[in-house]
Structure formats: C-alpha cells, structure tokens
Symmetry: C2
Subunit: 367 residues, 2 copies
C-alpha cells in the first residue's frame, strides 16, 4: 500500500464520521484570526478554514498578504501546498482582530509582546491563544506570561505539540495539546482545529504544556552531540529520560504538573525533536560534539540555533530557582566555557540524583 | 574524536572517581548469583564481578557452563566479549543459590516459575531480583507476582530499563532502574551493579517498573506497522504518547504510579524499543503493515515475536479490568481478525479520550 492509499482511507474515514455526526456543530459562526503567516500559523489557519470557521490570517507584509490571498499559496513557507479557497489573508491588523472570537498568535517569541501591545486596544471579548514555542529573551517570560501581562483579564491558552507544519498540510495524522484554565476556550479551539487527521487534546496545565515546547531544543543539541560520538540506544534513551527529569523538575518549580510531560507537549515533542537530525539544534550539537567551537558550528550552518539561546537562558534561570539541571549546565560549559563535549555524557552519569523519577521516590541525601 | 576516545575518557573518569572515593564500599563480601546465561544475565554478572562482588553465574547446561568458565567467553550470546577472570560459572544450582546474598533471576518468562520452585528449598536469607521482562502465559503474572507466589516472605525487586546487553558490555553509557519496597535491597543492587558507565536508579514502584518492560513490545509492533506506511514524525510522536497513555492507564489500574512512565523503565525503554528497526517486534509490524498475514510475517522472520503474545494477553486482561487500550485492541484486530492495518492509525484518532494526560485533566464525558 502506498502513502496515497493511506490518506485516501483516512479521508474516507473522516467523511464517514462527519456524515454519522448529524449532531455535528456548525462552525460557520466561529470567527478565527491567526496572527502571523509562518508555516505553522498557515497550517492552523488552513485547518480552521477547512473546519468551516470564518478565518482570517494576518500578515504584516502587505505584498505577501496580497499574494497569498490571490494565489492561495504561501510561497515562502509552504510553497508546495494550495490553501483553502475560503481562507482570507489580510495585512490590516485592526480589521483582523476586531469582532473576532479567537485570536491565535503565531508570531516569533522576539516580536510576540510587540504584537500583543498593538492589538491590546482592539481586544474586547476575544480569547487569545499562543501558537508560539519559546522564551522571551532577557525577561525569561513564556508566551502565556506575556499574554497575562499585556492583556490582563483576557481568556488565554497555549497550543503545543509535535507539529511539523509540512506533515500537517500533507494530511499526515498528528496531535496537539490546547492548554487553558478555561474549558470554554479549550472547547472552542478543539472545535476550530480538531479533525480526523489532526487531534486536539486538552489540558489545564498551561505552564507545563508550554515548557515542553520551550525546553526541548536544549536536548536536541545534546542528542546531536551524542550522535557525533556514535552513542548507542541505551545512552540515547537515558538522555531522553534524564532530559524529562530535569524538564519536569524545572516545570514543577514553576507550578506545573510533572505528569504533563508524559503527554504530546512533553515526551511527544521531545521525541520528534530529538529524532530530527536535520534540525539546526541537532546539527549545532553534532558540530560541537566533533570538537568544533560554537563560532565554527554557527559559521558552518550559516545561522544560529534556538537551542543555544535556550541553554543560556535556562542555565541562568535554573540557578536563580535552585533547580538541578545537570544536562543543561554541562551543555552550557561545553558551549561557552570550552569544556570537553564529553562532560555532557558525564553529567548523565553523575551521582547527584539516584532516584529514577523523583516524584515517585524522593531522592535520598545519603545515596 | 572516535568512539575509542570516548570510552577512554569515560574509563579515566571512572578511575578518577574510584580513587577519589576513598570511603567507597568494599563489595568483596557481597555474594551475588545470576541465574541464567543469556546476554543480559551475562552482562550483569560481569558488571557485579568487575565491581568486586563474589559472583556466580548459573547456567543449566553443564557443557556451556564449563566452556564459559574456562574460556571466559559466552560463545552463544556475547561471542565478541571476554568476561572478567574472577566470574565463576556453574551448573550446580544448589551450590549457586545456597548462602548467597542476592539472587538475580535472568530466566525467560516461560521458565521463570519453574526455576523459582527449584530454588525455593534453598532460600534462607537471600533477596531475589528479577532481570526478566515479560508476562507469564495464561496466568498473566508479572515476574514480581511469581516471586511473591513462589517465595513468599522473601525480599524482592525487579530491574528494568533500556538495556541492550551488547552496548553494556561494550562500555556504552547506560542506565537502569531497580524497583523494590526494600531500601536495603535497592542499595545492595546499586552497590553490586552501579558504575560510572552503568547507572542504577532507584524506585519503589515495582509494578510500574516491570509493566514498562512487559508492555513496550506491543508498541514496537505498532511502530513497525507505521513504518510500512512511511508515517511522519508527528504521527510517530503521537503513537509514542498514546502508547504511554494506555500503558500508564493499565498500570494505574494495577496500583502503579503513572509518573513511573516518565522514567527509564517507561519512556526510556519504549523509546529504545521503538527506535530499533531490527527488532523482531518492529519487523513483524512492518510485514503486517505491508498487508501480510501473521502467518506470512512469522514465516518470513523464521520466528515469532514476543509482542504478538503480549498483545493477545494484554487485550484479554484489559477487557477484564475494563481499561481503555485502543492501540492494543486495534493491533489485536489486525493480527487476529483480519482488520486492515490502518485501523491502528484510526485508533489514535478516535474520540474516546480527549484529554492529553488524563491524570492531569480528567476526561469529560461530553467531549
């Protein structure tokens, strides 16, 4: 059987389900706006349109907006894919945000706050959902923190999961998590985006869900470094679980639930990221593992990797919060203080913690 | 840098640590017996010997025992590796079990109970630890259940994790989990097996730890099936997390802690198993995904796969316990009732559960 066949059968399945669901909700009254026209924002705007929502995708660049509106192709980010006919594309921020139900923000972390400040005067009853993974530079704010600061009183949520946009638009089965304290918001996002090929799971652990997406890049760097040493499956598995241990330890310190890391936004996204040898984070790690300096590695790649910034930020923050994060600290020493890459492997072998999952069996001071 | 270099530096690190640890425990009084001379039992016996324990490996076959004792090579299971000089190999069960401190049982699940029955009269103060992953056929007993039934009152534990024996004897960094309600037993096993290259983490969730090792093969079959359809990273990640969801759901029903699945014996072992395209489980899944019948798949492989039996057992047990396990049930239907392999993908997309991690946000009946 071929891939085409696979998608055919799933499409048939989706049709059958929709037919059977005579009580199925009518989405035509749900007004969705996606801010940002990168690959993920575009994929989500397209899904919402396909689900029958009245959908606008806002792009700052007027020419790009016009071109996508006319051609239904996002040449820069998803050049091989034709978007839904009914998707509206606009560069008019006010018209895109006013009188809408749900604003999905897919703006890079360094501009996230600026765009929220711009839309603040336009917000009346709209709910706001971040589609962005990352941490704001200097402030160490997560996207939900920025929403709370810039748009207090607004119902908000974050969407995160192992979601390569290219696979989503190709119709490969995928899942994501909408985290919000508001059940109504979770239901609205599920209504707008859920389909037979794109499952939207719910959570109320906002910080836990966004931390998975924000921290995972650290461990993709470590995984690339390990690949330079040709490490085996045992070692990779240990790296993944020790990564989860320190991610969840950090998250719990910020009030998250460690169990969230068992889900799509935790293990799921970490698995996808660490299994992507083509990602920049992995490749920087690989170069560092070969004994190259950060400057050499970045020069070879032609660009920096998000994970390097994250390591710097999380190292500093973990020290302030006194959270034990041996892998992150070892990576920091390799990248910024010329420690040998092997110290990352050694950090896995340290005796600081001897419990497998500390939330099951607390660490003993004497072992 | 080469792999050799990697091991050199780690070995140096281990030496330095050992030197620094002047207070380090003397293991020469710890008497360890490993029952069974398969690859993993041999690797563990070798580690204990290297750690200074008085170690015997018991093998039923007299000729094989004699040959390994003389050549220090386990020709059948680890032909490329020379064992520690001090490791004793014996086929005398009574001499191997009497007056020992720790009995590590590395006997396949189908003979596990029989061997415990044989040693029962010899047990006085020995502790017993299972190194075996699996479920006893028909009884649906885990190895800890069998120990409790056959050797009541004996302190017991289970060891499980992503532990390919070949990588361990090559000195690649690895970790494992010892689970026991007895802190003394956990400390003894850590003392016997822990080293700079083989970390032994502790847990008191016996059922949780052994369930990870017992159930993971199910999902290796599913992963192989997915590979036949050339599924993307989004889908693989969803499979992994939905697998963890149903494994932990099942485990919690048996009294385990869901957080255990965040650790080496859960996510760790699942990751290693699902990333091993050469495993029999993966290959049977791949053949089934290509539309072959179970008989055809097994004929091609020349042998059956453990995961197939596990699917049958767990399907039946999950129905008795009323635990929702859609992936396992879908695999069962494909393998035994000629359902199309695609129904496994569909099982991921079903709407039965819409919470990402149900222990964080309980499922709602209306969504």
């Amino acid at each position: 059987m071929t891939q085409a066949n696979f998608n055919d059968v799933l499409a048939q399945y989706q049709q059958d389900r929709n037919k059977a669901k005579s009580e199925s909700k009518d989405n035509s009254n749900l007004r969705i706006t996606v801010l940002g026209g990168g690959s993920f924002g575009t994929a989500m705007a397209n899904l919402a349109t396909r689900n029958g929502c009245d959908t606008i995708m806002w792009i700052r660049d007027q020419d790009a907006a016009k071109e996508i509106q006319e051609t239904k192709i996002n040449k820069r980010y998803l050049p091989d894919f034709t978007l839904e006919e009914k998707l509206k594309v606009s560069s008019d921020l006010e018209a895109s945000v006013k009188d809408r139900d749900l604003i999905l923000v897919a703006i890079p972390s360094h501009s996230f706050r600026k765009v929220l400040k711009q839309i603040a005067p336009l917000i009346t009853a709209q709910a706001v959902v971040s589609l962005t993974k990352g941490i704001e530079k200097d402030s160490f704010c997560f996207m939900s923190d920025i929403i709370r600061q810039e748009l207090p009183e607004v119902p908000y949520g974050v969407l995160s999961g192992p979601n390569l946009a290219k696979e989503i638009v190709q119709g490969m089965p995928a899942g994501t998590v909408i985290a919000s304290h508001s059940e109504q918001l979770r239901n609205a996002v599920q209504g707008a985006l859920h389909s037979a090929l794109f499952r939207v799971f719910a959570s109320d652990d906002v910080h836990g869900v966004e931390l998975g997406g924000a921290l995972k890049n650290i461990y993709a760097v470590a995984m690339g470094m390990g690949a330079a040493y040709n490490v085996g499956e045992n070692t990779k598995s240990m790296l993944i679980t020790r990564a989860l241990a320190e991610m969840s330890r950090f998250a719990v310190r910020l009030g998250a639930n460690p169990l969230t890391f068992l889900g799509l936004s935790g293990v799921g996204d970490l698995f996808a990221t660490c299994n992507s040898p083509l990602s920049r984070n992995y490749q920087v790690g690989f170069a560092l593992g070969q004994g190259k300096s950060l400057d050499q590695a970045v020069a070879e790649l032609g660009q920096t990797a998000e994970g390097i910034n994250t390591i710097e930020q999380v190292k500093a923050r973990s020290e302030e919060l006194e959270v034990y994060m041996p892998i992150t600290c070892a990576l920091y020493e390799v990248i910024f203080n010329h420690a040998p890459p092997l110290s990352v492997a050694l950090s896995l072998m340290e005796n600081g913690h001897r419990s497998d999952v500390e939330f099951v069996l607390p660490h003993q001071s004497d072992s």
